[in-house]
C-alpha cells in the first residue's frame, strides 16, 4: 500500500473541550497530559498525525484540547489486488480468458487496466484499487469520545445511574469545533456544540467560540484563564507583589503553588492578617493549619520568623470590600484557636503521662497496642546504642535513647495529633521541648518517623537514629513475623518504606550495625514483651532478605552501582551495610584493571566445576601438596597461600581495593593452572585434591566480592 499523493490544500484546527463539574485539582495535571497522549495515539492510528500539534489544557471545570495541522481527510490508499495466475488468465494466444474477464468485472475495472505482477510463485494478474480516505471530520466523530473515555481516574463515578456514563465528575457540556464548524458528536450522552461556559460568577453561561484563540480570549474576558501556566504565573506575580509591599517573603511551597493554580479558574491573591498572639504557637503547627487545611501561603519576616499575615488564593477577580478577606481571617482564627486549645489542654499533663493511654491505640491486632510497641522500641534502641558505644561511637547514650523511645509515640494520644495526624512525631517533639526535655531527646522524638521517602531528611542526632531504627525494625520484624507481607502495591504498614529508612539511616550516618543481630534484638523484644511471640530462624533470614532487597535498590538506583557489582558484593555478605558500601566502591575501582575481567571468568569457571562436583566453596577439604602432579598446581597453591595472608591484613585494615588488587594479581597463576591441569582427572585422590584447592581458593578470595557474579548473562548494560 502506498499513499496517493494528493496536494492537501489546507490544514484544519480543532478545538475540543469537555465541560465538567469541579474536577479534583490534584488529578488535573495528569488528566491534561493523558488527554494529549490519547489524542496523539488515536490520530496516529488513523494516519492523521503527520504534521499535527496537540496541546491540552485544564481548569477545574474543563479539559481542553487544541489540535493544529490536521489534514482535511486521510490520504487515499492505492492497493494492489491480485487475481488468477497468468497461466489461467490468458489463453495460448495471449487473449484474456473468462477468469480474467470476471476478475476485471469483480474489481470494477476495464480488462485493459489489468496488469501482471510478479509474486513468489510466478506471475499473477492484478488490478489497482484506490481506497478513498475518510474525512478528518468523520474520524473525529469516533475518536474524540474515545479519547475522553480512555482517560483513567483513581475513582470514577456515575451521576445518572448504573447504565449511565462514568467519569471523574459529571460532564455537563462539550465543545467540538473543526475549523469553525461545530462537530456533530456525543460524549457521555451530551451533544457537542460551539458554546462554552465562563467562570461561574464572573462570566456568561453560554459563549459561542470559533477556534482556540477565540475561545481563549473570550474565556479570559469571562473570568477563566485556560492555561495553568498562566494561572501559576499570575499567582506568582501577585505573591511577589504582596511580599515586596509587606517587606516579607513567602514561605516557599512549590506544591501549594501548583495546587492552587489547578483549584481556581481565575486565581487572585489576597492578603489576610491574624492575631500576632497566635505566633506563640510553634511554626510547624501554624504552617500546617495554613497550608494543609486552608491552602494559604505562610509568610516570614527577613529574620525567618513567621509573620502574622497569610496569603490566600481566591477564585475571583477581586475582593473589593474586603469581605472575602474577612471571611478567610475568621476561619483561620477559629482554626488557630482550636490549635491553641489543643496545645494548652494537651499540656495540662506531661507527655509521658500519655503513655498508659497508648494501650488503647492499636498498632496491629496481633502485635498489640502502641504501648506494647513502645516497650519493644525501648529495648531495641537501648541495644543499638549499647552496641555503638562498645564499637567506639562515644556520643551514643543509652539513657537518652531509652527516654526518647519512651516518649516517641505519646503524642498519638494527644488531641493535637488526633486533629492533625500529619504532625505525629513533630507534636511529641515540640511538647517534649516545651516541657524541658533535653534537645537531644526532643529532637529524637521529633525526627523518629524520618526518613519518609527516598529524599526525606534523616534524624538529626544519633539518639533519633536509634529510635527511628528501633521503630522501623520493630515494624518490619513484627509484621513479617505474623505474616503481613507487602504484595504489589499493597503495603498497608509501609514496610518497604520502613526498610528503606533503615538502609538509608545506616548508610548515610555510617553506623556500625549488624542487620542480622539487630533483627535478632528486635525479635527478642517481640518475645520479651507483648505479644510475646517468637521469631523463627527461617523468618529472621526472610526478614534480612526483605531489608537487603531495599539495600540493593539503594545501591543500584541511588548510588549507581552496576547490577553485577551489587550481586558480587552481596554474595560475599551484606550484614554490615557500611562495610558493604566500602567493598562496592573498591570493586568498582578495580574492575577496570587489566587482570580483573579474565580472573572473573576463571572464578566463574571454578564455581561451575565445584557445583558440578558437588563441592562447597571454602569447605574443609584438606589440600595435600604431596599429591600435586604438575608445577602449575604447586605454583597456584603457594601463590594463593602468599596472597591469602596479604589479603587478610589489607581486609583487617579496611583496605579493600588493595586486597582486591592482590587477588586480581593471581590471574596469571590461575590461567596457567587451567592451561596445564585437568581438574577432573581419572585418579580420585588427585581429583579430590585439586577440587579442594579450588574450593579453598574460591572460599578465601570471595569474602569481599564474589567475582564469579561479575559479567555474564545477568549483567545489565
Amino acid at each position: 500500500m502506498k499513499p496517493v499523493v494528493t496536494p492537501q490544500e489546507k490544514s484544519l484546527e480543532l478545538l475540543f473541550e469537555i465541560g465538567c463539574e469541579e474536577i479534583p485539582a490534584g488529578l488535573l495535571p495528569k488528566a491534561e497530559e493523558e488527554l494529549r497522549i490519547n489524542l496523539e495515539k488515536l490520530l496516529a492510528a488513523e494516519d492523521l498525525s503527520r504534521n499535527v500539534a496537540v496541546e491540552t489544557f485544564s481548569a477545574p471545570r474543563r479539559l481542553t484540547a487544541w489540535v493544529r495541522g490536521l489534514p482535511v481527510k486521510q490520504a487515499d490508499l492505492e492497493l494492489e489486488v491480485s487475481g488468477p495466475p497468468k497461466s489461467v488468465a490468458y489463453d495460448a494466444v495471449g487473449a484474456p480468458t473468462r477468469a480474467a474477464l470476471s476478475f476485471a468485472e469483480k474489481q470494477g475495472v476495464p480488462v485493459s487496466a489489468l496488469y501482471l505482477t510478479q509474486a513468489a510463485k510466478g506471475e499473477y494478474l492484478a488490478a489497482k484499487q484506490v481506497k478513498v480516505g475518510r474525512t478528518t471530520e468523520q474520524i473525529l466523530h469516533a475518536i474524540l469520545p474515545r479519547a475522553v473515555h480512555d482517560l483513567t481516574w483513581p475513582r470514577s463515578m456515575t451521576w445518572t445511574g448504573l447504565e449511565g456514563p462514568r467519569f471523574i465528575r459529571p460532564i455537563r457540556w462539550v465543545v467540538a469545533v473543526l475549523d469553525g464548524k461545530p462537530l456533530k458528536l456525543t460524549v457521555a450522552g451530551i451533544a457537542a456544540g460551539n458554546a462554552t461556559r465562563g467562570h461561574r460568577f464572573l462570566g456568561s453561561a453560554s459563549i459561542r467560540v470559533r477556534n482556540f484563540l477565540d475561545y481563549e480570549k473570550k474565556l479570559h474576558a469571562n473570568g477563566v484563564i485556560v492555561r495553568s501556566t498562566r494561572r501559576q504565573e499570575k499567582i506568582g506575580r501577585e505573591l511577589e507583589a504582596f511580599a515586596k509591599r509587606g517587606g516579607y517573603r513567602i514561605h516557599e511551597d512549590s506544591d501549594l503553588r501548583k495546587l492552587v493554580a489547578y483549584l481556581n479558574e481565575y486565581p487572585t491573591v489576597i492578603q489576610g492578617n491574624f492575631d500576632p498572639s497566635f505566633l506563640s504557637l510553634p511554626d510547624e503547627i501554624l504552617i500546617t493549619v495554613m497550608r494543609d487545611h486552608q491552602k494559604y501561603f505562610a509568610v516570614e519576616k527577613k529574620n525567618g520568623e513567621l509573620a502574622a499575615q497569610f496569603l490566600a488564593v481566591i477564585n475571583s477577580d477581586k475582593d473589593a470590600r474586603g469581605m472575602i478577606r474577612a471571611g478567610h481571617e475568621r476561619v483561620l482564627r477559629a482554626r488557630f484557636a482550636d490549635a491553641r486549645f489543643f496545645w494548652e489542654s494537651d499540656q495540662k499533663c506531661r507527655l509521658a503521662d500519655y503513655l498508659p493511654k497508648l494501650e488503647r491505640v492499636t498498632y496491629e491486632s496481633r502485635l498489640g497496642s502502641y504501648r506494647d510497641k513502645v516497650e519493644r522500641i525501648r529495648d531495641s534502641a537501648r541495644w543499638l546504642t549499647e552496641q555503638w558505644f562498645n564499637l567506639g561511637v562515644h556520643q551514643a547514650r543509652v539513657a537518652e535513647a531509652d527516654r526518647s523511645a519512651e516518649l516517641a509515640k505519646c503524642d498519638l494520644a494527644t488531641e493535637m495529633v488526633r486533629e492533625f495526624p500529619e504532625l505525629q512525631g513533630i507534636v511529641g517533639g515540640l511538647y517534649a521541648r516545651a516541657q524541658g526535655e533535653s534537645d537531644e531527646i526532643a529532637d529524637a522524638v521529633y525526627d523518629h518517623y524520618r526518613p519518609v521517602g527516598l529524599d526525606d531528611p534523616l534524624p538529626r542526632n544519633l539518639t533519633g537514629c536509634a529510635v527511628a531504627l528501633a521503630d522501623k525494625l520493630d515494624s518490619v520484624v513484627g509484621c513479617l513475623a505474623v505474616g503481613i507481607v507487602p504484595t504489589g502495591s499493597s503495603d498497608p504498614y509501609a514496610l518497604r518504606r520502613a526498610s528503606l529508612g533503615i538502609v538509608k539511616i545506616i548508610l548515610e550516618k555510617k553506623l556500625p550495625v549488624s542487620l542480622s543481630l539487630a533483627i535478632g534484638a528486635a525479635g527478642k523484644a517481640l518475645l520479651t514483651h507483648k505479644p510475646k511471640r517468637g521469631v523463627t530462624p527461617d523468618q529472621e533470614s526472610k526478614i534480612l532478605d526483605f531489608i537487603l532487597d531495599r539495600a540493593r535498590f539503594v545501591f543500584r538506583e541511588k548510588e549507581q552501582f552496576a547490577y553485577d557489582e551489587v550481586a558480587a558484593v552481596f554474595r560475599a555478605g551484606a550484614d554490615d551495610l557500611v562495610d558493604t558500601q566500602k567493598r562496592l566502591l573498591a570493586l568498582r575501582a578495580i574492575r577496570k584493571s587489566r587482570n580483573f575481567a579474565p580472573l572473573a571468568v576463571s572464578f566463574k569457571r571454578i564455581r561451575k566445576i565445584l557445583e558440578k562436583a558437588g563441592v562447597t566453596p571454602g569447605a574443609d577439604g584438606r589440600v595435600n601438596p604431596e599429591l600435586f602432579e604438575s608445577p602449575a598446581e604447586r605454583e597456584l597453591h603457594s601463590a594463593a597461600h602468599a596472597a591469602a595472608s596479604k589479603v587478610q591484613s589489607f581486609k583487617r585494615g579496611g583496605k579493600y581495593q588493595e586486597a582486591l588488587e592482590v587477588i586480581a594479581g593471581l590471574r596469571p597463576v590461575v590461567d596457567r593452572f587451567f592451561d596445564g591441569v585437568l581438574v577432573m582427572t581419572e585418579k580420585e585422590e588427585v581429583r579430590k585434591n585439586r577440587l579442594a584447592l579450588l574450593a579453598q581458593l574460591l572460599g578465601e578470595f570471595t569474602t569481599i566480592a564474589d567475582f564469579s557474579e561479575i559479567g555474564g548473562e545477568e549483567r545489565l548494560a
Binding site: E21, E22, P24, A25, G26, P60, R155, M157, T158, W159, T160, G161, L162, E163, G164, R169, P170, R172, R200, F201, L202, L263, N264, Q294, A312, I314, N315, S316, D319, A320, R321, M323, I324, A326, G327, H328, R330, V331, L332, R333, A334, A337, D338, F341, E359, R360, V361, T362, S365, S369
Partner: protein, 314 residues
C-alpha cells in the same frame, strides 16, 4: 462558662430560625417534600430514613428536612465557640440528580442573602463515606470564603447497594452558615430568633450532654444496651425471611432500622467515653454496618414488586 450576648437592634443576617424557614421555602419551591427531623438519635441527616431508604430503588423523590445531629465526641462542654455535641443540618435529597443541581444549590445560597459575586465559592474534592451505613458518595465540600458550609454528594452506594438512579445529597451546616450571615465568632452568640440567642436555647444541653458523654456515662450499661438493640435488630431481620404475603408487606423492617440507629448512637457514646480501642472500634462499626446493609437488602425485597418506597405509590 456563661455566654453573655448583647442584642443590638437590627443586625444584618438571617436569624437561625429564619435560615431554616428560607431554606425550607426554597426547596419546597423546587418540589421537595418538607419532612421533619427524625426522632431517634442520629449522627447525620443521612441516617434519617428519608435519606437512607429513599435513595434505594428506582422511585423519583425530592425531600428536605432539618436534622439535629449528635456527635458525642465533638462535644466541648459548651466552651468551644465552634464545636458542638449536637449540630444542626439541613438536608436535601434530589432523586434523580438534576443536570443543573450545582446551579440550584448556588441559587439556594442566593436565597439566603449571600451575594455570590462578592464571595469566594469553591467546590473542593471531598468524597463522603459513612462506614456504619455502608454508604458512600463522590462530591465536594463547598467552601464559602474558606469556610466549609455544605457537603455536596452524588450518592453511589447506600446500605451496601449500588444506587440507580443516583441521588444528590446536600447537607448544609446551619450553625456555620448562620455565623457567616450574622458575622459572629461564637455559635452561642447566634441570634436564634429576634430576642433569643443560640446559647439561650442550647447551651445547657451542650454542657450537660458533654458532661454525660465524656464523664458520666456508664460504659458497661451502654455496651449491654448496644447488645440488646443489635439482638433485636437481628431477630427482626431474621423474621423477615419467613414472612409472606400481607404480613411480608407490613413487616416492620423500619423498626429493625431504628434499632440499628440506636446501635450507631451507642457506639458513638462509647467512642466519646474513650473506652474502645482502634481494633474494637472497627469491629463495632462493622457490626452496625451489617445491620444497615441487611436492612437495606430486605427493604428492597419487600418493596421489590410494587416499585414503591415507604409505601408511597409510584
Amino acid at each position: 462558662m456563661k455566654v453573655k450576648v448583647k442584642l443590638e437592634g437590627k443586625r444584618p443576617g438571617l436569624t437561625f430560625q429564619d435560615l431554616i424557614l428560607e431554606l425550607s421555602r426554597f426547596w419546597v419551591k423546587q418540589g421537595c417534600v418538607l419532612q421533619q427531623p427524625y426522632d431517634v438519635e442520629v449522627g447525620a441527616g443521612t441516617m434519617h430514613p428519608e435519606t437512607f431508604f429513599r435513595v434505594l430503588g428506582p422511585q423519583h423523590y425530592r425531600v428536605g428536612f432539618v436534622q439535629p445531629s449528635r456527635r458525642p465526641a465533638d462535644g466541648r462542654y459548651g466552651e468551644n465557640p465552634n464545636r458542638l455535641y449536637k449540630h444542626t443540618q439541613f438536608q436535601v435529597i434530589l432523586k434523580p440528580s438534576p443536570v443543573d443541581v450545582q446551579e440550584l444549590y448556588l441559587k439556594s445560597l442566593g436565597a439566603l442573602g449571600i451575594d455570590l459575586k462578592k464571595h469566594d465559592i469553591r467546590f473542593e474534592e471531598d468524597n463522603w463515606e459513612s462506614p456504619t451505613l455502608g454508604a458512600w458518595g463522590i462530591g465536594w465540600q463547598v467552601l464559602l470564603d474558606g469556610l466549609e458550609i455544605t457537603q455536596f454528594t452524588y450518592f453511589q452506594q447506600s446500605g451496601g447497594m449500588d444506587l440507580d438512579p443516583v441521588s444528590v445529597e446536600l447537607t448544609y451546616g446551619l450553625e456555620r452558615i448562620c455565623a457567616f450571615l450574622q458575622n459572629v465568632e461564637s455559635v452561642y452568640a447566634l441570634r436564634w430568633s429576634v430576642d433569643k440567642t443560640y446559647g439561650d436555647i442550647r447551651l445547657a444541653e451542650e454542657q450537660q450532654l458533654s458532661e454525660y458523654s465524656f464523664d458520666g456515662s456508664d460504659a458497661a450499661a451502654i455496651r449491654s444496651e448496644f447488645e440488646l438493640h443489635e439482638q433485636q435488630a437481628k431477630e427482626l431481620l431474621e423474621g423477615f425471611k419467613g414472612a409472606e404475603g400481607k404480613s411480608r408487606e407490613r413487616y416492620p423492617l423500619l423498626a429493625a432500622y431504628d434499632h440499628c440507629l440506636k446501635c450507631s448512637h451507642l457506639f458513638n457514646l462509647l467512642d466519646a467515653r474513650g473506652v474502645i480501642s482502634t481494633t474494637e472500634r472497627a469491629a463495632l462499626m462493622a457490626r452496625v454496618r451489617t445491620l444497615a446493609c441487611r436492612t437495606a437488602t430486605s427493604y428492597l425485597q419487600q418493596r421489590g414488586g410494587s416499585e414503591t418506597a415507604l409505601g408511597v405509590r409510584a
